[in-house]
Each structure stands twice: as structure tokens, then as C-alpha cells.
């Protein structure tokens, strides 16, 4: 007979543990990184103290953290959407580069539009570029069964080299009039028109008393937060979100219940690519105003870590992005003040990812073992 099954205390404790395992993992990672610090003769407490103080002690530093977090939120969402449907989109890296390329092209090549058309058009171009770059791998997967990890990795290289080629070739600004003195010939596209540029938050935040310096955080931060809300809404409030999660957990059961798994997978992957296409726009439209050969890289790979640390949830991704922003900013601080090499920051970042992956796996296995124990008993 099946009596009512109240959730046992153990199960509740387990759920709580699972929820906070990233926090635990960060602490463990800091402890392990301390060993490295001690070996190079630094006091971990002092180093961590400096890190916090440097990162949070000044308004412009906080602004910098948020600026660094902005692309990571987009990249994290892009990865999380893929993870939720059971796909490993490693191609966010390539997708955002293509997104940047498309947005930049619209930004400098389309002329004579008012800002309220030009800017949205550039943003849409970025999303479209990302989705386009995601189209090939998902098409190959569904039609030919090619694993998306292989194709997306390959397309990352393709995207990078393609962008380099265009920026250094057909799209290069040969007028040379960009640098001071008019002779500077950098490898970059022509400057984007002012109508395609994203305004920063200096003015808006100044009105409510927050003094972020000009030229740092721009409106893409707000867009990123809206995207996070959108992710939450999509997953938990919409029919498509229900399908996406069902396919992610058990495509066979979803199919049996009358959901077209392949259609859901296809659309989700394109969505992932479209969001990925936004990741580079904060830097492009909000800061540089041109696409050059040294455009920031690795948002895509950090995005995987962000999604992992944030457990594919909207709130988690935002928090994880800020964490990575803090680590990078704080890393700068300890480098300057404590003379700790930048590599230490990479060690810490790597350890955090490692610890979180391990913690979630350990807890998952522990939960499964507990469950098995409970299941083993009523078998007759």
C-alpha cells in the first residue's frame, strides 16, 4: 500500500544543501587557493582582504565589476538555455563574435537612421548573427546526428578567424583617421555611428544618487538583467518553457506525451545563439565603438562556468556573473597592491569552477545513494 509520502527531514536537508552547494564550493576553493598563496609567501587573509577592499571600496570599482558582469550574464543565459534542454552549447564564444561582427556592420554601414531605430537594429543584428552561427550545428545534429560539442568548437575557431580576416581585410578602416594625429592605422572597422551607440548609465544613475563614472556601466546591464528575468519567465511561466524542461529531463517521455522534441531542441538552440549574440554588444556598442582585432574574448567559455556555478537559474547566473566580475577586478587589485601574480586569479577562478562541479556531483551521488537506499526497501 502506498501511504502518504511526507518529505522526510533528510530530503529537505538535502535540497537545502544542494541549493547552497555553490557557496560552499566557493569557500572550499578559497581555502585551497590559500595553499598557493602561502607557497608564494603571501598571507591569504591579507590577500583576500585586499581583494574585497579593492573591489568594493570605491564606486568606480563596483561599476567596473558590473561592467565585467554584463557580457557574462548574456553568455551564462545562452549556455544555461542549452543546458536546460540537454545540449552543450560550447559555441557561445563563436556566436558572440559573429554577433559583434553583425552589429558592428550595421553600426558603421547603415547611415541616416535615428537612434531609436539604428540602435535596436544593431542589437537585433547581433542576436541574428548569434542565432545564425547556432543554426549550422543544430541543423547538423538533428539531420545528421553530429554532436553539437564537436561542431560548435570547430565553429568557434571558424568565427574567430573569419572575424579577424574581415577586420584586417575587407572591413578594415583604411582612412587612418581614427587615432590622434590622424596617422594611427589600427586594425579595426570604421567607427560606429553615434546613433548605434548604447548610452551609459552615468546620467540615469546620477539622478538617483549613484555616482558611477562615465564610460563604464551602460544600458546593456539593464538589458542583461531583463534577459535574466526573461529566462526565469520563459522557463517557469510559459508553455515553451515547460516543453524545454521536459525535453531536457527526458526527451523520450516528452515525445510520448505529444511534444515534438526535435522542434523544441531546434528552437531552444537558436534562442541560445541569439542570446549569445548579445554578449559582446556591451563592449562594442557601449564602450569601444568599433570592432578591432583585440576585441575581448572568452566570454563564451566563462559563460559555461557562469551557467554551471549559477545552476542554470536566472538569479544564479546574475550572482555568478557578479562573482566572476569581482574575481577579475579583485585579481587586479591584489596584483597591483599585493604584488600577487595575475595567475593566482586564474588559479582561484579555476578552483571555484572545479569545486562547484565536484560539489554538485558529490551531492548528486549522495542524493542518489540515499534514494536507492529508500527504494531498495519496498521491493518485493
Amino acid at each position: 500500500m502506498n501511504a502518504q509520502l511526507p518529505r522526510s527531514k533528510a530530503a529537505k536537508r538535502l535540497a537545502l544543501l544542494e541549493k547552497f552547494s555553490p557557496v560552499l564550493a566557493v569557500l572550499v576553493a578559497m581555502a585551497v587557493a590559500s595553499i598557493a598563496l602561502i607557497i608564494i609567501g603571501k598571507n591569504p587573509l591579507v590577500v583576500y582582504g585586499t581583494m574585497f577592499y579593492f573591489a568594493f571600496g570605491r564606486m568606480d570599482s563596483i561599476a567596473n565589476i558590473l561592467y565585467k558582469a554584463t557580457p557574462l550574464i548574456f553568455a551564462g543565459i545562452a549556455c544555461a538555455v542549452g543546458f536546460r534542454v540537454g545540449l552543450f552549447n560550447i559555441g557561445v564564444e563563436g556566436q558572440y563574435l559573429i554577433g559583434v561582427l553583425c552589429a558592428a556592420s550595421v553600426g558603421f554601414a547603415v547611415k541616416g537612421l535615428p537612434v531609436y531605430i539604428h540602435l535596436p537594429l544593431a542589437i537585433l543584428a547581433g542576436a541574428a548573427g548569434g542565432a545564425l552561427w547556432a543554426l549550422v550545428p543544430i541543423w547538423l545534429k538533428l539531420k545528421r546526428g553530429v554532436h553539437e560539442v564537436i561542431t560548435t568548437i570547430m565553429l568557434n575557431h571558424t568565427a574567430f578567424l573569419f572575424v579577424q580576416y574581415l577586420v584586417a581585410g575587407p572591413l578594415m578602416d583604411k582612412t587612418g583617421g581614427m587615432g590622434p594625429g590622424g596617422v594611427d592605422l589600427r586594425v579595426r572597422t570604421p567607427a560606429l555611428l553615434p546613433t548605434a551607440r548604447m548610452p551609459d548609465l552615468h546620467g540615469a544613475l546620477g539622478k538617483i544618487g549613484i555616482d558611477f563614472p562615465a564610460g563604464s556601466v551602460n544600458w546593456f546591464l539593464i538589458l542583461a538583467l531583463l534577459a535574466a528575468v526573461g529566462l526565469w519567465y520563459l522557463l517557469w511561466k510559459t508553455p515553451f518553457g515547460l516543453e524545454l524542461r521536459a525535453v531536457g529531463h527526458n526527451p523520450k517521455a516528452a515525445e510520448t506525451a505529444g511534444i515534438r522534441s526535435n522542434t523544441v531542441i531546434f528552437r531552444t538552440f537558436l534562442l541560445s545563439g541569439a542570446v549569445a549574440g548579445l554578449a559582446g554588444l556591451s563592449d562594442l556598442l557601449g564602450y569601444f565603438g568599433y570592432l578591432d582585432i583585440d576585441f575581448p574574448r572568452n566570454f563564451g567559455f566563462t559563460g559555461i562556468a557562469v551557467a554551471l556555478v549559477g545552476r542554470n537559474s536566472a538569479v544564479g547566473i546574475v550572482l555568478a556573473s557578479v562573482l566572476f566580475g569581482f574575481l577579475s577586478r579583485g585579481g587586479m587589485g591584489i596584483q597591483i597592491i599585493e604584488r600577487v601574480p595575475m595567475e593566482t586569479y586564474y588559479i582561484l577562478q579555476g578552483l571555484i569552477i572545479l569545486c562547484i562541479v565536484m560539489a554538485s556531483e558529490v551531492i548528486r551521488r549522495y542524493a542518489r545513494a540515499q534514494q536507492k537506499k529508500e527504494e531498495a526497501s519496498p521491493n518485493a
Partner: protein
């Protein structure tokens, strides 16, 4: 205290798992030379008890006496050495080895480190002769029928000198003829002085074969009775804890028009043919049962109808429309519902909540959706009502499906599949693993759907179920319907002949393989 002639005395055995007492103070004796049945529903603690007796689990409390001596085996090997043999429900045989090789495997007669194949074959042959077990020692396992494979398992146990033989649900995989033969063997073994423990939940069989019966319920012994002293209803009541109705309510109404027509269906994986020219039709207001030994194409047939597997030939019509090779979503749109045999893989998305599972597939209907937003009040109302109607016991519809028991998971699937009065229902092994109460409930729901005019295709390995519920019965063998019967002409033995392919099709006598 153990009785003097007890071979096995189980005394106060208790085994707890987190949150549940699998065995609570279990005590009974198995007497020398008897056939002793242990019955109980799924979850009553039968398996746990067997695992304790054979040394797979250690009890938390209590002890076990084997031939008067304390016998707490630390592993199954010790139990075998002591003379306790077990025949598992799922055979543990090497399929490309011969009978002899399987029997001696792990207990090879040593002769200067080598195996003498002739000597071994002779020994196996002698053993089968002694116990009247008909088997050719040189045949390979893969060429044997299920019943014969089970005999190999029994020989294995005898070869190791077991005096006490435990059979765990031995008839679950057998057709009626094979069950008869098994019982013959068991009686022979008993005459030769072996003691047999027979674990089952099929009450008819238990009453037929055993001398005494111990009933377990929720991990505790309800009683040990002589088979001659009890009736089937009495035994069922002991098992369930309340009187059980064996008669399902069924209205006799003439069936309507053809609802599902399957014609000449063919399917294969690789070169192996799975469905071979399979044809049948189910009418509105009728339950069509498909009987057969598992693995004869039943799963594939259900999947082919529901659009989850492509067929290579033939047609499927539902309510007059061709649905051959249509995707599942479309087949469902035409009014089909599906209770899959595999609850965990196909039936439910276990990590998702009860309500999510209950509306999955129907969530885009106007009553559950407004634009881009799920309509939670409508969804929750439907699920709450469904959960009450189908008696799904749960803490909350926000609980994950994986936290429900098997019976409640199955009822949750009913909530989803019976929504909107389906025209046609495929029910694949719908009561597998369910307790008597849930089984009764599920069967009644199928009958009710039929009474309301639905066509039901019932696929079940449980012959009793097919005969009790179906109006017409088709026997499937090697992916082909061998013969059809109406409910009143269906005899288990006749069906059994067709199920094993011993008798060939009445429909034009087609070749089976």
C-alpha cells in the same frame, strides 16, 4: 522456538531502510520437505526477506536458523555452500554457453585444474534424470525456451547440492503450460526430499502448489496457514488487509464501428523482423487484449501505433484517418491516449512536478494557456480534480513525480491520459508492479472508458488480466497475431499454445517466423 522439523527458522528478523521498515519482526518456520509459499503485494517485503536469507543483506535484528544452527550468511556464496539455492526471476545464464557449461560454471569439478567435459555432461545428465528434468545438456541457452532456461537454473541449484530451494516469482515469465511443467518438477523435487520456498503474488498458483503459506503485509507476517485451510478471497484479504473484489463491473453493450484498424503492419530493427504482417481491429466500446510472451513485438506495436516508431509497411487507421508514421503529437490530436509500459522512461518526466506531468502534452490547450503564459488557475484546478478522481496520493501537486510510489505514478499517468475522454487508448502493461488495490482501480478505469465508448487496446503479459478485462483477445507471437478469441472462448491453456508458437494461426495459417 523453532519446530523440531524446521529446515529454516526465521526468528524476529527486522530490516530497516531509511524511512521504512522492510521487514518487521518476521518469524516463521519452513518445514522439512514442504513447499512453502511466501505471498504478499509489491512492497510487502518478500524480496528483502529472500535477500536476508541468502546473505545479500544483513538483518538489523533477529536471527535465522538453518537446520537448527544459526545461519547468518555474509554473502550469497556462503548460503550456497550451506545448501540454500535460489532461482531468481531474471535468469543468470550465459546465453552462448551450453546447458552443461552453465550448470557447472562457478562450481567446476576440478581434475588437475582442468574440466573434463564428458564427465561434466554425464553428471548433468544424471542429475536431470534423477529429478525428472527434461533437458539436453549439450544445447545452448539461446536455443532454449524460457521454461527450459528456468530448468537450467533449477539444475544449477541442484548441482550445488542445495537442500532448500527458493524460487522468486518463478511463474512470472511462464505461459500456462510451462507453469504446469514447473509445478510437476517441484512436486518431484519434493518427493525426493527437497524443501521448496515459493515466492509469488499469484494466489491461484500458490493455493495449487504449496503446502503452507506465509502472508506478508507491509513487512510483517500476517499469518502462516495451511493451503488446504484457506480460500482465495481469504488469502487476498490477508494480503491486502481488506476484502477484495475480484469481479470487475462490466456492462455488456454491443461494440460500435471500427475505431482502430491495423493492416499488415511490418517493422524491423536492422535485419531482425519485429512486426510481421500484423493485422487486427478494435471497435468503439470494446477492449481488445493482446496476449503473448514478452518480446514478441508488443512494445513495438504500441509505439508504432502511437507514432513513436516508424513502420516499414502496412497501414494504421484511427477513426477512419490514416495515421501511419504520423508523429505522436498528431496521433494524440486524433484522440489517442497512451499508457506506456515503462513509467520511468516513457510515462513520466520524473524530476518534474506532479502538475507539470499531468498537463504535459495538453499544456497548449486554451484552458491551460493564455497567449505566452500558462494559465495556472486552470491547470491547478484540472490537476487537483484529477488527482482526487484517480485517487493519486501525494503531499502536493508541486511534489516531484519521482517521490510518488509506483501505483501513484501510474494513476498520475491516468490523470493525464484520460483527460478529455480519449477515443482510443493504448494501455501497455498498465498494472505491472501495482498492488491489488491499484490494479483493481486501473482495470476498472479501462472498463469505464470502454463503457463510455472508447476503444481500448490492452497489451499485457498477464494472461489473467487479459482474460478478465478484454472483450476480444489476439495472441501475438513473433510479431504476428496468431489467433483471435472472444472473451468467453478464451482458455488459458489454448492461449498458451499460441503464445509459444506451438499452434499456428487460425487466420489463414500464416507462418510464424
Amino acid at each position: 522456538m523453532a519446530q523440531a522439523n524446521a529446515v529454516l527458522a526465521i526468528q524476529g528478523v527486522t530490516k530497516r531502510f531509511p524511512g521504512i521498515v522492510a521487514n518487521g519482526d518476521v518469524s516463521f518456520d519452513v518445514l522439512e520437505g514442504e513447499i512453502h509459499a511466501i505471498v504478499g503485494e509489491n512492497g510487502a517485503g518478500k524480496s528483502t526477506l529472500v535477500k536476508i536469507v541468502t546473505g545479500l543483506y544483513q538483518p538489523d535484528e533477529g536471527r535465522i536458523l538453518f537446520r537448527g544452527r544459526p545461519a547468518l550468511f555474509r554473502n550469497p556464496r556462503q548460503a550456497i555452500l550451506a545448501g540454500i539455492g535460489i532461482v531468481h526471476q531474471h535468469f543468470m545464464l550465459v546465453s552462448n554457453f551450453t546447458v552443461t557449461e552453465n550448470v557447472i560454471l562457478g562450481a567446476e569439478p576440478p581434475r588437475r585444474g582442468l574440466i573434463d567435459p564428458k564427465d561434466a555432461a554425464t553428471k548433468v545428465r544424471d542429475l536431470s534424470a534423477q529429478y525428472g528434468v527434461k533437458l539436453d545438456p549439450d544445447r545452448r541457452i539461446e536455443d532454449l525456451s524460457v521454461g527450459e532456461q528456468q530448468r537450467v537454473e533449477i539444475l544449477k541449484v541442484l548441482y550445488r547440492g542445495a537442500g532448500l530451494i527458493i524460487l522468486d516469482e518463478p511463474t512470472a515469465v511462464l505461459v500456462p503450460q510451462e507453469t504446469e511443467e514447473l509445478f510437476e518438477h517441484l512436486r518431484t523435487l519434493k518427493r525426493q526430499g527437497k524443501t521448496i520456498v515459493f515466492i509469488s503474488h499469484k494466489l491461484d498458483e500458490v493455493l495449487r502448489i504449496s503446502d503452507r503459506i506465509t502472508v506478508l503485509r507491509r513487512g510483517r507476517v500476517v499469518g502462516t496457514v495451511k493451503a488446504a485451510d484457506v480460500t482465495r478471497p481469504k488469502l487476498a484479504e490477508m494480503m491486502v488487509g481488506r476484502p477484495v473484489l475480484f469481479d470487475l463491473k462490466r456492462n455488456e453493450a454491443p461494440p460500435g464501428e471500427d475505431r482502430l484498424v491495423v493492416e499488415g503492419l511490418k517493422a524491423s530493427t536492422g535485419r531482425r523482423s519485429i512486426l510481421a504482417d500484423l493485422s487486427f481491429r478494435v471497435r468503439a466500446g470494446e477492449i481488445y487484449g493482446i496476449a503473448g510472451v514478452e518480446g514478441n513485438g508488443q512494445t513495438e506495436l504500441a509505439e508504432a501505433i502511437m507514432g513513436l516508431r516508424r513502420v516499414g509497411g502496412g497501414r494504421i487507421h484511427l477513426a477512419g484517418e490514416d495515421i501511419t508514421n504520423h508523429p505522436a503529437a498528431l496521433v494524440r490530436k486524433r484522440g489517442a491516449a497512451y499508457i506506456p509500459e515503462d513509467r520511468h522512461q516513457r510515462g513520466l518526466v520524473l524530476p518534474m512536478t506532479v502538475w507539470e506531468n499531468a498537463v504535459l502534452g495538453a499544456h497548449r490547450l486554451p484552458e491551460f494557456r493564455r497567449g505566452f503564459r500558462l494559465q495556472f488557475p486552470g491547470i491547478y484546478r484540472f490537476v487537483e480534480e484529477g488527482v482526487v478522481k484517480f485517487d493519486v496520493r501525494l503531499t502536493s501537486i508541486q511534489a516531484k513525480a519521482e517521490t510518488l510510489s509506483g501505483g501513484n505514478q501510474q494513476k498520475l499517468i491516468l490523470v493525464r491520459e484520460f483527460r478529455g475522454d480519449p477515443k482510443f487508448i493504448v494501455a501497455s502493461q498498465p498494472t505491472r508492479g501495482l498492488d491489488i488495490g491499484a490494479t483493481e482501480f486501473v482495470r476498472q478505469q479501462l472498463l469505464n472508458a470502454r463503457d463510455q465508448g472508447a476503444a481500448v487496446l490492452l497489451i499485457s503479459a498477464d494472461l489473467e488480466e487479459i482474460i478478465a478485462v478484454a472483450d476480444r483477445i489476439g495472441v501475438i507471437y513473433n510479431g504476428h497475431i496468431q489467433a483471435e478469441f472472444s472473451q468467453d472462448e478464451a482458455e488459458p491453456k489454448t492461449l498458451g499454445l499460441y503464445m509459444t508458437g506451438a499452434k499456428q494461426g487460425s487466420e489463414g495459417g500464416r507462418r510464424a517466423s
